[in-house]
């Protein structure tokens, strides 16, 4: 009995220590950003790498999601004689919910995993410690550019995803459902107001913050050689998914309460 209690105690303490460490790490990142210690060239390099890596898959999934939404929407709405509202359904679903969340998932799986694996591999090969021995702060040199790039790339990817999703919906609506193209575009532009657009975008910034923090933290503190890199990278992606999903519930509630 005592052993079980001791194990539970250790586990709980471990969680709190891990959380404290993660918060301290975040404060270190933010401290560097506030002091303006941002290596612009490194950030641009990271923006290019993270953005390019996710671009094709975001384009494909967004276009397909928009198309599927339009297909399903067309079938459902036609039952009520309201198939002209397909554009509304596609645009609002994508802008308010689907694009921010799905793009964040894709971004976690591609760019987030890349960040965790890169930093993890540097950690197990002593490159992070070597940075310290060279008199350079590894958080400033290796983490801040990746974190800042996340913050800048994900919102752009979300906007790109929204456009591609709407295009997917347009193609299905025009070529399959026989809705006039100009009507679809007009309806889309009319239905999206700034609240819809920015409520999705605000969430995206929050998701970018979470993904950057989680993936950089898991990568930076990777231990255990190549096995460890795999383990911590998987953890980074899994935690990113979980926190994006959970925070989305909370953020949606807050946004709806404040801004509806």
């Amino acid at each position: 009995m005592m052993n079980i209690l001791r194990s539970i105690g250790r586990y709980v303490i471990g969680i709190f220590l891990g959380l404290g460490n993660a918060i301290f790490f975040l404060l270190e990142i933010l401290g560097n950003i506030v002091k303006g210690k941002i290596r612009v060239q490194e950030v641009l390099k990271q923006i290019f790498e993270q953005g390019v890596q996710s671009l094709v898959i975001v384009a494909l999934t967004s276009f397909a999601s928009g198309a599927v939404l339009a297909m399903q929407g067309h079938v459902m709405l036609e039952r009520f004689g309201a198939k002209e509202y397909v554009a509304h359904l596609v645009a609002l679903s994508l802008v308010r919910e689907l694009s921010p969340v799905f793009t964040s998932f894709i971004f976690s799986g591609k760019a987030g995993a890349k960040i965790a694996a890169e930093l993890g591999s540097m950690s197990v090969n002593n490159q992070i410690v070597a940075t310290r021995t060279l008199g350079v702060d590894p958080v400033e040199f290796l983490v801040v550019p990746r974190f800042v790039a996340c913050f800048l790339v994900l919102p752009l990817l979300v906007v790109f995803s929204e456009l591609l999703g709407i295009m997917g919906g347009y193609c299905v609506s025009v070529f399959e459902a026989g809705i006039p193209g100009s009507f679809y575009v007009t309806q889309t532009l009319r239905v999206i107001n700034y609240v819809d657009f920015f409520s999705g975008l605000i969430k995206t910034f929050f998701f970018a913050f979470l993904i950057g923090w989680i993936c950089c933290y898991q990568g930076f503190f990777t231990q255990g050689g190549s096995l460890g890199v795999g383990k911590y990278t998987t953890k980074a992606v899994a935690y990113s998914y979980i926190f994006v999903v959970l925070s989305n519930v909370f953020l949606t509630k807050v946004i709806l309460a404040l801004w509806q």
Partner: protein, 238 residues
Amino acid sequence: MIEIIHLFKKLEDQMVLTDVNLKIALGEILVVLGGSGAGKSVLLQHLIGLMKPDRGSIMIDSKDITRLKERELLQMRKNIGFLFQEGALYDFMNVFENIAFPLQEHTTMNESGIRAKVKEALKIVGLEGADEKFPSELSGGMKKRAALARAIILDSKILFCDEPTSGLDPILSKDITDLIQNISRQLKCTTIITSHDMKNALRIADRVAIVFKGAILATGTQKDILSSQNAYVREFLN
């Protein structure tokens, strides 16, 4: 001068450093010898401030580095070269960029100055022409040479080398230890090398310290060590 005074460190209920006392004179080459898990690398990590001791102090140029904050340690490390066991070169930089990195970070040298300095360092370590190669394209010995060039590029007066011959064949081990000795003499560096390579250690060291279970068993010149009557030292020598 470097002075280690009554250094103690416990890791996971195990003493890894037990009352370590050492003095290393200016320009001296000290080799810390010992088997795996003896505490050599932990000692070196304390010397560069990557670990804090439970007790004791480390004086480098009359400053107790165990009391320095991370920012002050980063400043201090600019004056110390550190050679890692596996080199720890950045994968995403080529050899030139790796060696130029400390110069770009800590000096105001222009690009041509940096290029000339890196070329000179590459010549010293015998890696001319390898500047465009990435670490993944280098052999174990070449990686260590490139890492050594990076460690000395700021003309540091202190050089720490962690197991520089591990993973190398006997000929390469001799080459690397000779290179470290030459560089230390040339730059008048105070050098501390951890190793379990007795043969090369005795060849290049001004003084040797034998570590066993975190404690210094014996220190002295090659002659002192060879004539030691300590059972572990005798076993290690044989």
